[in-house]
Structure formats: structure tokens, C-alpha cells
């Protein structure tokens, strides 16, 4: 059974799920073990959805302020980034990029 990154747990969707699971654990409705099983399923579902269902492309530009490569994970802090999508654009003052290796160990 392939393993999936836990990276996406910190996204909006992932934190919402984690918070909901915490509430159910606090209320005594589920055990932490069951919550972990749900999160592992989430890792798989979001990874498959991103890789199979999303078609959008993006271009990101900006000034690289900080870079770090640790445990096969790249972290970048970009100042004044601009984002171009297929039909719209966006800007921000700063963005953090956390990127795991697309080739997982053992693949």
C-alpha cells in the first residue's frame, strides 16, 4: 500500500477536518485511533484529487528571500510574488512555498 504525504493536512480543507475530528474526540464520540484512520484516508483522497482531477496551471514569479532544503522538502519564502492562472492573476506581499518530492522514496 503506497503511503501519502501528510503535507496537505495543513491546508484549509485539512485543518477543517482536523478541527472537526478534535471536536468529536473531545465529545467522546470517536477515538484518536479512528481519527488517524480518517486523516490517512484524507491524505490519499486529496493527493488523488489533486493529481487526477485538477487541470489548472499556474506561473509564480517573485524575489526569493529564503530557501531551505531539508529532509527532501524544499521551503521557499518569496517576496512580492505574482501568480498567473489560466484566466486570472493575483499578487501578495509574501508567500511561503512548502514542496515535497513528487517522487516518493521507493517509487
Amino acid at each position: 500500500m503506497p503511503s501519502y504525504y501528510e503535507l496537505y493536512r495543513t491546508s484549509t480543507l485539512g485543518t477543517a477536518l482536523t478541527d472537526s475530528l478534535d471536536e468529536l474526540i473531545q465529545a467522546g464520540h470517536i477515538t484518536p485511533q479512528l481519527a488517524i484512520q480518517v486523516l490517512e484516508q484524507y491524505d490519499k483522497s486529496i493527493a488523488e484529487a489533486l493529481s487526477n482531477k485538477v487541470k489548472a496551471k499556474a506561473v509564480i514569479k517573485g524575489d526569493l528571500r529564503t530557501y531551505r532544503f531539508c529532509d527532501d522538502v524544499w521551503t521557499f519564502i518569496i517576496k512580492n510574488p505574482t501568480f498567473k492562472f489560466d484566466h486570472e492573476a493575483a499578487t501578495a506581499d509574501k508567500i511561503k512555498i512548502v514542496a515535497c518530492n513528487a517522487r516518493r522514496p521507493g517509487e
Binding site: T12, S20, L24, Q41, A56, I60, D63, F83, A90
Partner: protein
Amino acid sequence: MSNTIVAAIYRYVIDDVVGNVQADFEGHGVDTSVLEELQRSWEAKIIQSRVADSNALARWQALRDARRAAALPQVDGAEDGNEEDRNHPGNGLDVAPKIELPEDAINSDLDDSDDEYDDEEGEETEHIILCQYDKVTRSKNKWKCVLRDGIMLINGRDFLFQKANGDFEW
């Protein structure tokens, strides 16, 4: 454009997770109503976060809840294709529609407001991209990144990409 599909993708992921953990819940002897509560609570938080098309998410949640409520009293489980439900729950812009589920003991938790993007210390920024990299290369001060399978949170909205090229200058 990519933001408009976010609601649909999130809906897919939520349904996929809920559908696939059903057996785990049964294995732990946990009642299905708890799984339904998990789904409702999860959706409500996404709607409140407004990162996606909340209106679409709220409509879909109201429709599903209406179906579920209608299916509960009659045990014969008739599929009640009441498609007209799609038309009137259009008031769900900010707040998740309050359709009560039976045995919904912890419904009040849904009202918690999430302030999880308020930390702005140091490297922490409310704008973040979670993704995977195919390639990261550097030539002098120019960096090129080939990224894929990303979730971006920018200015309070979520964007998804299959592929992204990053051109950065150090």
C-alpha cells in the same frame, strides 16, 4: 478560474473520505450519525472559511441534508428526487444553513469561528502553497521550480493547480 473548481474538488474529497472511512467507523462500533456529523462539521468549517465558492458548498450541503432528513422517517429509504430544493436555499452566503439532523448533539460546535490564519510571526504568512516538486534548479541568481499538485491559499482564497512553474530571483 482555478478558484471556481475548488468547491467541486473539495466536495469530491469530502465525499471520498466519508465514503471510504465508513467501514472504519463500523469497525470501531461508531454510529453512522457520528460520521454524518463529521461531514457536516467539516463542510461547515469550509463554508465559514470562504476560501472556495461558499455559496455552491452551502447549496450542496443544504440539498444533501434535506435528502437525508427526508429519508430518515420512512425506513423504506425512498430516493426522493426533490430537485426543487436546489432553488431556494440561496441564503447560505455567510452561514451554513441550519437544517437540523436528529441526534445532532454537538451542533453548537459548528458555530466556532476559526481564526487559524491570524498568525503572522516571522516566516508564518497567511499566504502559503503546499505542493510537490518535480525539479528545482538554479543558475546564478535565477531559480526555476517545476511544481505540481498544489493547494495555494492567497488573500483568503484557495487555488489549486496541477502544475506550476516558479521563476524566482535571489
